[in-house]
Amino acid sequence: MTAAIGYPPARPGPLEPRPARPHREPVLRSDEVPRDKVWLVVVDPTGDRAPRLARFAALPRLVRAGDLVVVNDAATLPGSLPGVTADGRGFELRLSGPVEAGRLDGVLLGPGDHRTRTEHRTAPPVIARGDRIAVAGLPATVLAAAGRRVELAVHCDGDALWQTLYAAGAPVQYAHRSERLALWSVQTGYAARPWAAEMPSAGRPLTWDIVLELRRAGVAVAALTHAAGLSSTGDDALDRALPWPERYEIPRRTAEAVGAARARGGRVIAVGTTVVRALEAAADDDGGGVRIGSGVATLRLDAAHRPRVVSGLVSGLHVPGESHFDLLSAFAPGDQLRRAVGLAAQHGLSAHELGDACLILPDATTT
């Protein structure tokens, strides 16, 4: 918890700015915000405009006709599963991506639950290729193991596997929230196939009221599926390599919408960094559009990356030092982002992954 004492949650009423404290790093609240109460810090990287605050529901008025908003429709898996080795040692398996043909990829943590910080969890039992283990009571064989990262083959038919995953699994979650997250609390309003290890949470405040208002305003809204992975494994060396390669799939309709938006001079606005990762990975050689179909995103986004397809994005709030902050630096200068964080702190906004948000968009329309 990094709650900023003295910054009361000023919702749902108007936010009262607090005096800035110049010599301290801004501290953001870290509690969950109801979906319909999310604030948006609007950052316009063109020129040197000051960041400002808007309600998330004002999004349709911050973009313009001809733009395209792209969301990640991956549903969040019940990816935390109990397991036991052949000699009776328990572990938690956290799925890192989609489940296909009886294969489970993920990381192991020692006994315990999310209330212990991931990096403080006891080490998982050491397992090796060929070991027989059980996941949620289902027999499985270890196909590959590298430290706590594993690939498993489960021995049962698909219907029984999915029935068991949903009966025994729970969403992956972290120590900053002690109560168990319900499966429905980590789904977006358009979630489809369960591909995401963690919620593509930038789309959480995107209600259907907002989606339909965007469309009425002449803004297209389209979806892709990106297998958002784990944000932490509890192992420093593994964490440094995150995000791992992640699968994505871009439907024809969405690829066409990207091409059409670019052709008419509209901006492509990604809802979430997973969408940025998929669209940039799928950028065609001309840089004007994206390839249809599935692929694996391996690129790492940071200040050095020049986006080829995506003009702007909606994201959670991130502070300097976080890997996501580097990613946002691909879209706006670092000092402008730091001012945005300062504004967010001043107004008591939350950097929780289910918290407040930012919109980084050139020429974000003034309301």
Binding site: V71, D73, A75, L77, P78, V99, G158, D159, W162, Q163, L165, Y166, A167, L183, W184, Q187, T188, G189, Y190, A191, A192, R193, P194, W208, V211, L212, R215, V221, A222, A223, P251, R253
Partner: protein
């Protein structure tokens, strides 16, 4: 909508109309998720469909259980991918023999609404959002003439079906232009276990076989343009000529 290759979810699919719908969608090349409480009966139906070369998957779950809904939708989309066709067929009469409203326990009315109205609503909330963002989908609510006629002793069931009809219409109005179609279909009286529970002394020879009604509903899904979005259709009056 061309059914070939589409993901379809049918609730109450272990018997009666739901089973017939699942069988016929699978026969037309859909990847079908079958939902029912009774895992044993469901497994038999799935095995039978697969035996005929169909793509069918069993999802054991109770539509009236709030905690089960996201599991049902998640399992279905894990197994068959995106759902383009959702048929809300599962329903309950409440305790039988059917009672007058003034003799109906409040808890029994609430339980009927959970299964017939709130459960389908919860499932639709998940599936319709995914359909609307992709721009295509059909949602079918199996209705009843008890939604319209005031049959004594059918109060709980009739109220739940009337509510479901109205959910259909309003959902269709709200999603107008997104590519999602919503229909309510009155199947008419069928020779099913449910009908026997409601009217034990009915002349079974006068009842329609569920397979015949399922064929009409499948055709309604295929020939979208012939029914306006949000329409309430009566299966027996549906012209089967394509």
């Amino acid at each position: 909508m061309n059914i070939q290759g589409q993901g379809a979810l049918v609730t109450g699919a272990s018997r009666g109309l739901g089973r017939a719908l699942a069988e016929q969608l699978a026969a037309r090349g859909a990847r079908v998720g079958l939902v029912a409480r009774d895992a044993g009966a469901l497994g038999d139906v799935v095995a039978a469909i697969r035996g005929r070369g169909g793509d069918a998957h069993a999802i054991a779950g109770d539509i009236s259980d709030k905690a089960a809904i996201h599991r049902i939708a998640g399992q279905a989309q894990g197994l068959i991918g995106e759902i383009a066709i959702a048929i809300h067929n599962a329903s309950t009469l409440g305790p039988t023999p059917l009672r007058l409203l003034l003799d109906t326990e409040c808890e029994d009315l609430a339980a009927v609404l959970e299964t017939n109205l709130v459960g389908p609503f919860r499932l639709t909330k998940i599936l319709a959002g995914a359909m609307a963002i992709r721009g295509a989908g059909v949602i079918v609510h199996v209705s009843s003439d008890a939604a319209i006629e005031a049959y004594p002793r059918w109060g709980a069931y009739g109220a739940s079906k009337a509510g479901q009809d109205q959910l259909s219409r309003i959902l269709a109005a709200e999603l107008d232009g997104t590519g999602v179609r919503v229909l309510a279909v009155d199947p008419g009286e069928m020779d099913t276990v449910m009908h026997a529970a409601a009217i034990p002394d009915a002349d079974r020879a006068a009842l329609q076989p569920p397979a015949q009604v399922a064929a009409r509903i499948v055709q309604m899904i295929e020939s979208g343009a012939r029914a306006p979005n949000g329409a309430r259709l009566v299966a027996a009056r549906w012209d089967l000529t394509p």
